[in-house]
Every structure is written in structure tokens, then in C-alpha cells.
Point group: D2
Chain length 294, copies 4
């Protein structure tokens, strides 16, 4: 449909992401402090919200087969796109807006499956895409996010225990300011009879989604991964831990995902995880040698 | 929270859009041919879907005060961000993912207000952002989209009349292939007793959203624009036109928007529209002169 | 010539500058403090070096007809490329490396025409390219550089007078630190009997190169511009000013340029300059309307 | 120096190249067909021009210690910048204009050391920079250029033999059009008594510059590389080959380079070359692990 105005199209300028590099797209909740408060999310972790985010991430997996791995905690989710992916010819805007939109849409669409309370207003997310040259960078990216999950979770556990005890949020903030991990562990254990190690892995380790590759042999598929069951045998030690048991139950109920995606709550910092899932990361990044006609 | 993995952040590279240029973000439905079919959208135009898109666009207006004008038709919507906007320091990804996510979220969230049928699966959108140096380019951009609306609508009107008459979609395609606008107008009028001019403006002209500026005097606010009423006095000439009357009624019911946004279905190709709304486009693009100390 | 290694070309990614924007390329001397010292440049201004830079800039004009205006002082030179230029399809690297290379090459090639001393080692330059949406931005860019020329020149005049008087460079620096323009003017006049206003325009105003457009009528060509003669009637007041007279003579001898380029040393801050040269900046930035077939 | 015009600086937007990727900058002669003709370059290869290009490349090595490898033939030269280089914070324009300018400047500056004829006008070069994620891509890049050298050289050898024989350039073009390497080898051998294999390596393999790393042990320094001597024992078979002997002599005289750079004319397609010079490519691309405080 040509008109005299078509020239404005000449201003469009596709930003192409570098070829043969790993692409990681991170989706983040916009104003989720306010959102979680107005929807009464349990503190420090709302299992229903985490399960909903996993469900939204699953929708992204279903749409883009080049996404093989994802990791989420709190209100963020990171997706790994294979280095050899040609998705949308690696156009930055097309990839990032598609993923953010699918995640958002699935989050709103599935809300009522996880929450009984009404969604009061439409939540939204933003996203960024980063290109990494080496698989080692990719592993370190995901390690970075899991360290972040751990640090935030430990802090928030202590913070909300203090608040539950009657402290104001400002007092809780002052008590924890500048303290190290041992202080927080001791506080949780001695004051609140909460063994941090007994928290569900979903909270401590976050959620890792792995594409199940049906055209690969079973050995490669990492059937030895722990996961999908989040309930472990533990001695219940406190009211907090009774709550945890309830949460564990909820988590198990909530986390039924698509057959092609596996949800684990493993440690992804250790090399073992990456070795077990080498088929996910063993991309054919090798240059496509054609005919050697020199 | 520093860890040995924090270095991966150094790969992040914010793409900054050029300052003092007009930014237009276009949101487009992904796979909306399939989506509209599976949700039985009326052809060639589904007023409920257009009203829902307007509602979603309104949510974008509410969130970003630097957006002053928008135009949508079919499954696309274009938003104008003022040339002097400093939104997110003009970071490309932050702006585009925020807008696409809000639009998507509001679309899904408000679905049931416009449709009685259930939303079968979460729809999604992609987006692109383009920078324009001159206001003349901006006007021509929106003219380009309205010409596109008109041409598509005329084609689709003829196409779906043919299909309603019993032609297969392939036959309809062959009949219209390569024909000009006069042929289609004659076909609509002579074969289907449909006067194209009597179609609702919402279909022919698309939807234009204009920010009402409460801190500007009334004279500037273009109170003389036609708009918000879509029902005109027309002589009904065919069954198609009776349907149109119903649609007009629906449109009026559906299009109640936020007080700060005005919906019009005007011609935005003529200079009159732009003159009447000069306050929208009269950006303070002038350079911020500080102290003249030469 | 296809080989199995050709795939590496797929990593090339042309960066296209936005269409219909003004492009300004600034070339800057690399390590020119050291270079000017090792070649005994006169302080604060070496007319031979300025003339050589003008000669190098002229070579850029000769090669690229879309360059219509340039401005240089000290070891820098800025070139304006018309907003409607399609040079190298507006590929960033192609434009910037071509201009920097031509400037560098002409600088070395013409050295012996201006200097009797041998060029001890090859000097080099770097460059940057910036896109400006409005002609007002372009004017302000060149005003910015001329203000910079003036401020630097006044400072350097005072600095080198102090050094000539016997002060160390460190003492001179301390004396001038934080002083305003009046202090420096008074210092020059009272201590050194140097009237700043009597300095050659080449030093105070820098060099402006304007393309002579032979296919435009004479009226438009600004034949009323002062310029190309740098020697004004002045009362000689000091030894410094005697030197200036010599420099003026040199400047006149040195500044014979190509017939299609005019060198002026005008004030380019005032609007008068821009009005007189409107044909330089009156780019056909208007959108290329094709056929209005709506 | 602040003025009301400083705001124009806000339009500057540094393009940062991705971290931890290999950067290759290729410099290419602009209009070198014309340049080589007007300076009577010997065909198909002018040893003096190649030696001058090597000298210009050496100047780039001297300036940027992060450049470890370069390869040139004809009028092009490619420089490898280490993946972990922080040169100019990896600002694209700063790196590329600096390298192109140094190369250009040294080419003009050193002209008279290689040519007795006067340089008639200043030659210029353009450049591009490309980012490669893996060392395998880097190797393949340089292989690609050496294959190109070989193919061009074989073609040009046959072409200029035909012209020397009395053919017009158009006739020579038609004779060689679409022919394969065997045809050209046979033509050279049977018609011109020229054994392609006896051509100097400088012509067949191009020039490879390798940084000598003085702080590395000698074993690593590849002392077993052939190189720096270009004269081999060969049976002279034709007038062409007598000319070659002269050229060989010239080459040896011409190619005295800086002590820190080694010039070789090796095959860089085979893995042996890369193994021998592993210390050049064994970049510390490993992520800079700081403190593991998880």
C-alpha cells in the first residue's frame, strides 16, 4: 500500500544482535513492591506468585523453541536463547517485546488459577537483552542471579521475622543494616527458631526451567536431577516451619507444568548442574563450514 | 550484593535514543489472524476488539504522561512520545518493553469487559520504536498509518462481503487482486448496496487518542473536535448498514475512556487536525539555554 | 570468492546514521600537546599549523560534496554534512574513517608547504560523528566551538605572555586559575600592552570554511562576507603586536585555498552569519513526497 | 568552559563495543585502483607498496600494545585487538579512527623511504571494526583473508601476464571469466612458463605481523617460524621469475621492522600457525573472578 507517506518507514532501523553469541533476556516486574502489597503477597515469599511466574515463563518456552533454559526468583525471570538461534534474524526489539508480552499476558491470564483474590489492576514487566560471547559467561550470569536470590531471601527472611515480631519496618532495617550472613543465620535460628536450611528450595534456590529434549537420548536428559518434588523430610521446629510445610504443599500443587519443560530448584552455581545439562548448553556454535575450496 | 559473578553486568549496554527527537512506538498483534479467528471477531471489523485496544492504549496514556497522541486501527497502536521527553533517560529497551507490557496486560485484563466469550489463550504483541527528527515527519507517520487503515478497511470490506455472499476466501482474493479503489467502491455499492462512506468513522479513520491537557487554556484544547460520538445520521440502505447501526451503538457504549484522554475518529491527514491540536505537538524542543557567558 | 570461511562476514553490522538529520564530524589531534612542542609551534597560536589544518580541511571538502560548512581552531576541525546526504548510505564507519583519513593524509602530505622544519614523526587524529535533528542544534554546535576557541585563546594568550615574561608554566597556571575574562583582558592590556581585540581574527574567531555553490545565484552566495583578508588597520602597541603583524602576513600568504571553498574568520555566533549563508543550511530536509494516491 | 551552547554535547552517544569479544579492524585503501595506476605500481604485485603498508601497520603496533596480530595483502590490513582489551573503554569511534589515522599518516610519512617517485596526492583509507565472540571465529577471519589473497593473486598473475603478452584488459578479463584455479595454474605454467608455486610468499601468502612478547619465554615465541627471509632457492624458469628474484631482493631490503614486531609470510590457514603462536591468542578472556562470597 504505497502512499506519499511511506518514506517515514526509512527511519526504521533494525538493531541486530551479534551472531553466535548467547542471548539472555531478563524480565522484571514494574512497581512490584506496590503490586505485591496491594495483593497481600505472603512475606518474604509468596509461593503462589512464584508458581504463577513459572507458569508465565512456561508460556515463553512453549512459543520459542530456541529458549532452552530459564531462571527466576522474586519478580524476575531470565531466559537463555541459544547462541546459534536465528529467531527473528536476531532483531533486538522483536525478540525482547515478544518475550515480555508473552510473559505479561500469561501472568494476567493465569492469575485466577493461582490466586483466589481478584487481580485489582493489570501488572506489567520490563525487559532487557544482553549478548554473551562465551558459555562460561552464561553460567556465571545464572550463578549471579542465584547468588542474588539467596542473599535477598536470607535478608528478607530475617526482615519479615522481625516485623512479625512487632518491629517496625524501619527498626528491622536498622537492625539488619550492614550485617553479614552469619548474623542473619544466627538471628533466624536463635530468635526465631528457624533453620534457614530448612526453607523450601524454591525460596532458597529459585526456579530453573529446563527444556526437555525428546530427540536426545535419556542419559543426556539429566534424569538424575533432584527436583520437581519440593517437599523434603525435615524436622519441624517452629511455627514458621509449620507454615513452610503448608507452602511446600501448595508449591507441589501449583507447579504442574507443560510436559516439555522441567522445573528444578537445584543449585546452579556448582559445575555439576551444568555438566548434567550439557545438552542444553552444548550449542552448535561451531562455524558452519561449507566447502573448503581454497 | 557483590559476588564474583557481578562482572557479567558489564555486558549490559543501554541503547540510548537520540535526544530532542520525536519517538513513536508501534505495538502490533502477534499472530492476530489466528487470534481473531479463534475468538470469532466480526469481519471486517470487530468493534469490541477496537474498543478493547483503545482501552489498552488508555492504560499506556495513564502511565506515561509524556505520551500525548496515539493512533490505532486493526491490531496495531502507535504512541507518540514528546521530543523533549526524558522518560527512563530515553533508554530504548526500558521504554519499549514497558509500553508493550502495559498494553498487553490491559488488553488481557479488560477482555471480559468487552467480550462475553472466554479468552481462550493469552494474546501477545510486539513493538518497535522509531526516532523522528522533525514534527513534519511525525505528522506524516500518522498520515501513513491512517492511509493504511483506509486501504485495508476498503479491501477487507469488499473481501468479507464477497465471502458472505458465498465466495471462498481464495475466490475473493482472486477477484480483488490488483484492483483499484474505484473498483472496490463500485463493487461494494453495486453488488452489496453498501455505501462505503456510510461506514462508521471508527472503521474508516481508526482511533486517535489525544491527551487532554488540563493546565492549558480551553481555547487550545480543541473542544471543537467532532468525535466521541460515532453515530451519525445516515440513510440505511442494506442489511450491511443495519449491522453497522448496531455496531455504532456498541461503539458508543464501549468507548468510555479516562477523563484525561479524548478519543476521536477524525481525519488526521489534513493539516486542520494538527492545527487544532497544536498544543499536543508544540513541544518545547528548543534547546535549554542556560547562561550566555561568552 | 567463496570459501568455508566466508561466514565470518555475517558478523559485520553496518551502523546506519538516522536519515534526515544533520551530521557533524569532529576531527581532533591525538597527543597534539606533545606534537606541537616537538615541532616548536609558536605559542599561543601557530599560524602555519592553522593554515595547514585549513588545507587539510579543504581536501575533505574536495572529496565530499555534501559537506557544506566546516569550522576549525587549535587542533580540531568540525565538518557539517547535509541532513539529506546519502553519502555511503549514511554508514557511520565509512563516513568517519574516510574523513579522518583524508584529513590526516592531507595534513602530512602538505606539511612541507607550510613548515620548513622536517616532520619528525607521523601525527594522527581521531574523530567522532554526531547526529542533530534540527538546524538550530547545528548552529548552536558551531557557536559552542567558537565560544570554546575564544575562551581557550584568551587563556592561552595570557598564559604564554606570563611564561614569556619569565614565569614557570606552573606559576602561570596558578596566576590564572579561576580568573574571569575581565581579569585576563586587564592582565594582557596592563602588563603586556596587548589589546586582545587587536589579535588576528584567525586566532580569536577560528577558521570557517564555506562551500561556494556555483549553481546558486550570486545574491545567495554571501559575497558581502568580510574574510579572506586577515590584515586589518591597527595601531601597533607592543612587541607582541609586532609579532602579530608578521603572523598576519604569513596568514595571508598561507591561506590560498581551492576555488570552491571560501575561508572566513567571521563571528558565527550571531544570527547574521547564518542568515547570510542560508543557502548552506537550507537543506531539502522536506520529506520526498512521491505520489499522493490515498 | 560552560556556555549556553554546551547542551549540544548531550547528543554525543558513545558506541561501546561488547566486552570480552575479539575486535578486528580492517583498513582498506580508498580508490586504490586509481592510486596504484597513477603511481605506476608494478603488476600484479608492487613489493614496495606492500613493504610500505607493512611499515604503516608497524606504526599501529607501536601505538597500541593490545594489538597482537595483523594480516595484510594488496591495499588492505586487518588488526586483531585482544578480547580483554580496554583500549579507550572499547569506544568504537575512538578505536577505529585512531587506527585508520595512524595507518594513513605512516603511509604518507614513509612513502619516500620506499618509492623514488613523488607522491602525487594524499592517499586515504577507510576502516571497519567487527566483534567476534570466539577465538575460532578469529582464526577463520584471518583464514578468510588469506584465501582471498591467494585467489586474487592467482587471478591477477594470470591477468597481467595476458596483458603483458599484448591482450587488452578486456580480452584478459574475458579469457579468465569463470575459470577455476587449475585453468589459471596451467595457463601460467604452459603459456608463460611461470610456476605459481615459485612466486614469493609475500605475494602468495600476504604479510602477517606478530607482536614479539619479550616477557614470555623463548619457547613460546615461535622462533621456529620460517619468515623474515623471503628469498628461497628456486630454479629460475622464465623472464617473469627473473623479475621475481629482483623483487625478492627488494623485499628483503625493504622489510626491516621494529624489534618488537615480527613479519612472517606463513600459511595461516593451517592449525600449525595458530598453535605455534598460541601465546598471541591465549587471551585472559576468563572472567575476572573477584571474591567468592556466596
Amino acid at each position: 500500500m504505497n502512499s506519499c507517506y511511506n518514506y517515514v518507514k526509512s527511519f526504521e532501523n533494525d538493531d541486530i544482535l551479534p551472531p553466535y553469541t548467547w542471548l539472555i533476556i531478563r524480565v522484571d516486574g514494574r512497581h512490584f513492591g506496590m503490586f505485591s502489597k496491594s495483593h497481600n503477597f505472603r512475606k518474604p515469599n509468596e509461593p503462589k506468585a512464584l508458581a504463577l511466574a513459572n507458569k508465565a515463563a512456561e508460556a515463553v518456552f512453549r512459543e520459542f523453541s530456541d529458549i532452552t533454559l530459564a531462571y527466576g526468583h522474586s519478580d524476575e525471570y531470565s531466559f537463555l536463547l541459544r547462541a546459534d538461534s536465528k529467531l527473528y534474524n536476531r532483531r533486538r526489539e522483536k525478540i525482547i517485546t515478544g518475550i515480555v508480552s508473552i510473559f505479561t499476558s500469561a501472568y494476567v491470564y493465569n492469575w485466577h488459577k493461582y490466586f483466589t483474590c481478584t487481580l485489582k489492576y493489570p501488572p506489567s514487566f520490563d525487559g532487557r537483552i544482553v549478548s554473551y560471547p562465551l558459555i562460561e559467561h552464561v553460567k556465571d550470569y545464572f550463578r549471579w542471579r542465584q547468588v542474588d536470590c539467596h542473599v535477598n531471601n536470607q535478608y528478607n527472611s530475617a526482615f519479615w521475622c522481625l516485623v512479625a515480631q512487632g518491629k517496625t519496618t524501619d527498626q528491622a532495617y536498622q537492625i539488619l543494616k550492614g550485617t553479614d550472613k552469619n548474623f542473619k543465620n544466627d538471628l533466624l535460628f536463635n530468635t526465631f527458631q528457624l533453620n534457614y536450611n530448612n526453607l523450601p528450595n524454591l525460596f532458597k534456590k529459585g526456579s530453573t526451567l529446563i527444556r526437555k529434549s525428546t530427540n536426545l537420548d535419556n542419559k543426556a536428559m539429566g534424569s538424575e536431577t533432584s527436583s520437581t518434588t519440593f517437599l523434603d523430610n525435615k524436622t519441624i521446629e517452629s511455627q514458621q516451619e509449620i507454615d513452610l510445610k503448608i507452602e511446600d504443599y501448595e508449591i507441589n500443587t501449583l507447579t504442574e507444568l507443560n510436559a516439555n519443560v522441567e522445573l528444578v530448584t537445584d543449585d546452579i552455581i556448582n559445575e555439576e548442574f551444568w555438566n548434567a545439562h550439557f545438552w542444553v548448553i552444548d550449542s552448535t556454535v561451531k562455524p558452519p563450514k561449507l566447502i573448503n575450496n581454497q
